[in-house]
Symmetry: D2
Subunit: 268 residues, 4 copies
């Protein structure tokens, strides 16, 4: 580049799945502001891990880099040390692939001397109980017949899917009318119906356990098509209303991600 | 080597934690026999991932290689393709480290063209329900006051720990007097006491959810020291008797590992 | 990208040092045409290995990617197999760094399955004699007092520098009034003066043994500053005239590079 | 291992081609002594890069590790930092393959934090002139009809072969009756005959430009079979007598390798 745009040799790379939803974009930008306030003098950059989302963002005129494109650019600009914060909820396929690819840039000639990758939101038991406590405080159902279901993405074909079942246990331990399920993994809606009924719940709030409340929240959680959480609950006589805020919009949950970044950055 | 000992260019590397317990050694050898029967004409070799266990095996005169030592030797002997089967229960820290190190050998000059790594026992939802069904069939408690607790290793500081909580849910769904806990993660014994009592259980069988029933099974699960599962249960008035067979000794559970090996080997 | 621009899963990456000289740019484009004619249906792309040159190209409004940026983009576009042709003259520091970095992209998740890197122009004895024979045919000095000096870049701190001394021997064997020297390595101008005088040469043609005839040819070879080949020769009473065509402009020399590409591409 | 044998976290790995010749073994051991004297408190270990030589050493009851086996063992023993000294003469195929493989061990989980690889004997112009000066001092032919030919291994298919032609020029510049040739590359014996005759040489000393004076020195340089240096020279009426000391036996040449080790070790 003609003139280096960088402020320092260190850089923070924020990686999200990608989104074209304006409110989701806003939520991510607000999160970035918190990172910048905390790490004054350190540049921050975004990359998006979903090729489909990058295509849709490009169609809207906002070309965005893949993580690999971002790291190749950062290397070209002369950065030597990077902390990567993945705004994923669990360490699933995407996180592992991202981490493997990004680590390939460490030690490239003329490039990064060190790259550290922060863990996703729910990466050990302490994270899980901490987030469960936050969700309990914020979303505890009031009236006896009311319940809350936090709906994550899930992936039945990856071990990280178990985190949702574990979170479901943690939430139910905290309040027997609070549950966790997924749209592509387990617990699936059908698997929680019995528990919901046992607990006497007749109406639930559907709350995304997702970074941002994008398409999955709108369709697979709260949509009217068959198979959505809303539809399956309705078939069992349970009414639902949906909340459309992503986890990154909650300042306490966002702090969990920030703490992961802190831990990674301190090793930089 | 003066004379190549190898039968083919392919080799199967079996990796276990390591053990000095004669019955555990036997269990691993019996498993190896099943692998050999299935893959006639393909060599099999062992490596042990725990440095402590390798030291203790060496003290007993049985020097055993680390995974890296095994792969360096296999490369020297001229093998070109390897399938690695990890006899771990969950994809935890050990599995991820092993996989990363072993993959470094792929593409070394003069060495392996391809290395595939099979997944541990419980690596997705299908594995988990399959194993839960096997355990239900074999270990279902008969009398009303009896229960079963499958005790795994666990690791509170790794995401894979959630698999035990998820397995606990799956077992309880199958039979409300069957549980899953861990010795170093969650569910910890204290976390299951309430559920055990709710289900009316007064005596339980403690069954290792571990590859082999070694020290962890003998001490942390069934030992008399404070904090063991046996001790914590006793404090709550629940009697226990321990079973000392590891998962690898159960032919149906072993088949899950073998199926993972099949899937990996087919990509070799 | 919104729409894939790629014609196939294979791509040819051409890597040059970088240049802002219009005639050099033309020379590279002409070479690319030959590659395209030969590999119809396979996309070709350029990357430039010199950060300084990329900056200067960007200043002129032609932003060009580093090799790493190119490979990150190609990966994003969905290419799976790449052959890399380095338009370097010798396998020096640049080539080795490029190869190491580019090979990091092989096996990235969601990216390249295979990347092969073709060798630079002079990478073994056969290349060297082949190029020496071409140069002899094209540039043999006619009159007794005339000589030719082929001037390469050179790098006194890398083993590849020896290739220029070896080429000097090969050229002198073919015609005792033909020499090879370098601007940053050996043979340096002072080191050839004695030989030039012994051979009775009083005037030489200075001919770039460089991919393109850019700044090094204009300044370090044919410039008037002290230390240039022209100046050092003049101090010893040897007049010189310079030729400003790069090796890539010679169709026979270009064929050597193309043959290296063929050999690499056939392994793709 | 039961008890760590290591003195420190750092280790020096010496890598040679491999030899079964007792005097060559002695020469390598003497070199190791110099390394140990210089690096007191740092362990040193050998590995041998030639599989054929390892087999022949094993047949004689001295099983020796490949570089990969050595590094896997060192990792197992708990070493964290290694400097590798390659006792090769030029950075050829073997050196590059060794370096690539050995660097794979850097950053393995539970293993080496840093691995530095020292360059072979002749790795830049300074090395080449330094060694040429040493050889001049020690082996300058006395009587007018006498010459010296330093014979290296060579490899016509690798760029590093040019180092021998470059060394030939450097030696001839120093004394027109001193030459450098190779047994498997260039200059080949036939290629030096004319120069030898021009210089009036009628008898030459054949001196290995090899780490140790093993089979290549005995057969390809000084043997009686057709094609050996001795035979080709004899056909041209030049008599020869052979010297059988390897470069590593010369304390001044050995110091070049040691200086390379120093430079590498200082980066550890």
């Amino acid at each position: 580049m003609a003139e280096p745009r960088r402020m320092s040799e260190k850089v923070i790379a924020l990686v999200a799945f990608g989104t074209v939803d304006p409110s989701c974009v806003q939520a991510l930008e607000a999160f970035e502001m918190r990172v910048r306030e905390k790490y004054r003098g350190v540049d921050t950059r975004w990359a998006y891990s979903s090729k489909t989302m990058r295509s849709r963002m490009a169609e809207r005129g906002v070309a965005q880099p893949s993580p690999e494109m971002l790291f190749a650019s950062l290397m070209d600009e002369g950065y030597k040390r990077a902390a990567v914060l993945c705004l994923h909820v669990v360490p699933g396929v995407e996180f592992h692939e991202l981490r493997q690819n990004v680590q390939r840039f460490e030690g490239m000639r003329g490039g990064f001397e060190k790259i550290v990758v922060a863990m996703p939101l729910l990466s050990d038991h302490a994270d899980m109980t901490r987030v469960a406590d936050i969700l309990l405080r914020k979303c505890e159902p009031k009236a006896p017949g009311e319940g809350s279901v936090f709906v994550g993405h899930g992936n039945a074909r990856h071990a990280s899917d178990a985190i949702y079942a574990a979170m479901n246990s943690l939430m139910m331990d905290r309040n027997p009318r609070m549950f966790v399920g997924t749209v592509s993994g387990h617990p699936a809606p059908e698997e929680l119906i019995a528990e919901l009924k046992n607990s006497g719940v007749r109406s639930v709030r559907l709350i995304p356990l997702m970074t941002v409340a994008g398409n999955h929240a709108k369709k697979d959680m709260a949509g009217d098509e068959p198979g959505s959480w809303k539809s399956v609950l309705a078939e069992s006589g349970i009414t639902s209303e949906a909340v459309f805020t992503g986890l990154v919009e909650d300042s306490e949950v966002a702090s969990v991600w920030l703490d992961h970044l802190d831990r990674a950055f301190s090793r930089l």
